[in-house]
């Protein structure tokens, strides 16, 4: 059985991990901390990116806002008619704003279901209940977490206070699912007529206009045409919105990654230092093994297995702790930084998403410093004459 020799070497490598406890604990603990931090950042960033992608997917092809002195103001409805004149284009107004409800800030958004093309996916995004209908009045579809926070069910009534602080009742007809929670966590979606009454916005105005284009490839051309016809407009295509969302979260996770990089370098230095600190002993051990008949490849096999097992173990523990930190503890400190302005949203579970590529990167990061820190010194010892290596010099 030729493979028995390899089994012996693997067993010896694992035995070394448990035998040299101080080295093992030092290496594993430093790598676990580094991988836990990066894992938490990466999983959150992946989750936020996924949420951003979803948010963009539900956004209109083009969003038109109106500016005065560089600030957004309500857009006159006459511009909807201007845009509607373009070929293959349909416009739907939105009226939206913010409201305090039980000391939390929520977004109240009014839409016109008769004018807004409702994507098929919307049914998957609502459970239980339904989306708004054309003839609905004082009805609302609310975010999943808002519903859970206040124990809301379909048919329950929410009492909001309008612009003049008068009570404004809406009945819950649907609840968004968890899949779109970042986008919908703070959302109270109501018919546009109710929104106009709530925010006291006249029928000749809207907060912005959603533009839907028959052929999505034409979005950019349509955006250019709108800019030509409405000089003070700010025009956002879905692609621009998506990039803006990704950039916002990407930049945050990028900054955290820099902090993490410093941590990783420190961890690598600790791992390297551990390898160096025992280098005389390790070199002597390699010399003894060589004298006893271990080949260079046998020694590299032992150290390789040792590094892979230690690295994989560290990465696994780090990833597990990262998931616990994000899901169970809600990622304190990191959450405030990663979510930025979104942190003023009502509390909602963090969007954790684990990509295969992220897992691969984390495991590579766990194993690579150890490969460098232990296999290379082992190789240099193994190619040295056993007589010299045994002296540890």
């Amino acid at each position: 059985m030729r493979f028995q020799r390899h089994v012996n070497l693997y067993a010896y490598a694992v035995k070394c991990i448990f035998t040299y406890k101080a080295r093992t604990v030092s290496i594993v603990s430093s790598l676990v901390i580094a991988i836990m931090v990066l894992g938490a950042v990466a999983f959150l960033a992946d989750g936020l990116e996924k949420e951003a992608e979803l948010s963009a997917a539900f956004a209109p092809d083009v969003t038109v806002q109106y500016l005065q002195a560089g600030r957004q103001i309500p857009i006159p409805m006459k511009y909807a008619e201007v845009i509607d004149r373009l070929d293959g284009v349909k416009t739907a107004p939105r009226v939206w704003g913010y409201v305090y409800f039980h000391n939390r800030l929520y977004t109240v958004m009014g839409i016109d279901p008769s004018k807004m093309p409702i994507p098929k996916e919307i049914n998957l995004a609502i459970a239980p209940g339904r989306f708004l209908k054309v003839d609905d009045r004082r009805a609302a579809v609310v975010g999943d977490f808002l519903a859970k926070s206040f124990g809301l069910r379909v048919g329950d009534v929410i009492v909001l206070y309008d612009q003049s602080m008068r009570p404004f009742n809406v009945t819950v007809v649907g609840i968004f699912t968890m899949d779109v929670r970042l986008y919908t966590a703070d959302l109270i979606l109501i018919p546009i007529e109710d929104a106009r009454a709530f925010f006291e916005v006249g029928e000749d105005l809207a907060t912005d206009l959603c533009v839907y284009v028959e052929s999505r490839a034409q979005s950019r051309f349509v955006a250019e045409q709108i800019l030509k016809n409405i000089p003070n407009a700010r025009v956002l295509t879905r692609e621009v919105l998506r990039e803006a969302l990704l950039a916002a979260y990407g930049a945050r996770s990028g900054f955290v990654s820099v902090v993490w990089l410093i941590l990783l370098v420190s961890a690598m230095l600790v791992a390297w230092n551990q390898a160096s600190a025992v280098s005389t002993e390790a070199r002597r051990e390699v010399g003894i093994l060589k004298a006893l008949g271990f080949g260079t490849s046998d020694i590299l096999e032992v150290r390789l297995v040792e590094a892979v097992v230690l690295g994989a173990l560290s990465a696994s523990i780090g990833i597990f702790l990262a998931i616990i930190y994000v899901v169970y503890f809600g990622a304190p400190v990191l959450k405030e930084f990663m979510l930025g302005w979104a942190a003023i949203y009502p509390e909602f579970p963090l969007p954790l998403h684990i990509k295969f590529s992220t897992l691969f990167t984390l495991y590579a990061i766990g194993v690579f410093p150890l490969l460098v820190g232990s296999v290379i010194p082992a190789w240099t010892s193994a190619i040295t004459e056993p007589d010299v290596a045994m002296r540890g010099t």
Partner: protein, 225 residues
């Protein structure tokens, strides 16, 4: 079986701290012979043992094993030869202190297709023969120096090698243990092993078939008993 031709080893060659450890030594050791290399400290005895044991390469000269010139062979060939034909007893024992006694003894078997239970059986067998059966599950650091030396001898014998190379096997032990070790070497000699031992212990020197004396790396005297 083993022959050396004008074997020379120079450390730190070309540097101010250059040392000629072994200088033009020619020897011939037959199969089953017991050669003892003696001489004062720093005379090059250990270096000569390392050269014959293929643990270091000569600066000049040749080593023949069964009439094959092996000193210039590749590292992997020399490693295989050490694994298959040689057993070493080092002066400092060179045991791994964190491992158990039987694990230390079975180390040379790791590179062979021998499973765990068989490795342990062979190691325990050798330890029993050397009177260390009750110490097999101890860590080597928990043993006396004499016991550690016997563990080192057990490790050298665990693969049943043709050639046993021992560096000062009785140097750091008490008289009683030295006598035990001498007895072990007598048995090895009787079983037909080729033994090359470095020692200035007169008792061990007297056991050898041939005694060579090194002075400043040079072969000063060779005596066949």
């Amino acid at each position: 079986m083993i022959r050396t031709e004008r074997l020379t080893k120079i450390y730190n060659r070309g540097e101010s701290r250059e040392v000629v450890a072994v200088d033009g030594v020619s020897l011939e050791i037959g199969s089953g012979d017991f050669l003892v290399v003696s001489g004062p400290s720093g005379s090059g005895k250990t270096t000569l043992l390392c050269l014959i044991g293929l643990l270091t390469r000569p600066t000049r000269g040749k080593i023949f094993l069964n009439d094959r010139e092996v000193s210039s062979y590749s590292d992997s060939w020399q490693t295989r030869t050490r694994r298959e034909k040689m057993g070493f007893v080092f002066q400092q024992h060179n045991l791994l202190p964190q491992f158990l006694v039987w694990e230390n003894v079975s180390l040379p078997l790791l590179c062979r297709d021998v499973g765990l239970s068989e490795r342990k059986r062979i190691a325990l067998n050798v330890l029993h023969r050397l009177g260390l059966g009750s110490r097999s599950d101890f860590k080597t650091a928990q043993l006396s120096v004499g016991e550690q030396q016997r563990v080192a001898i057990a490790r050298a014998l665990v693969t049943d090698p043709e050639i046993v190379l021992a560096d000062e096997p009785t140097a750091s032990v008490d008289v009683e243990t030295a006598a035990d070790i001498l007895e072990i070497f007598r048995h090895l000699k009787e079983s037909g092993k080729t033994i090359i031992a470095v020692s200035h212990d007169p008792a061990l020197v007297s056991e050898g078939d041939t005694t060579v004396e090194l002075r400043s790396g040079v072969l000063a005297q060779s005596r066949r008993m």
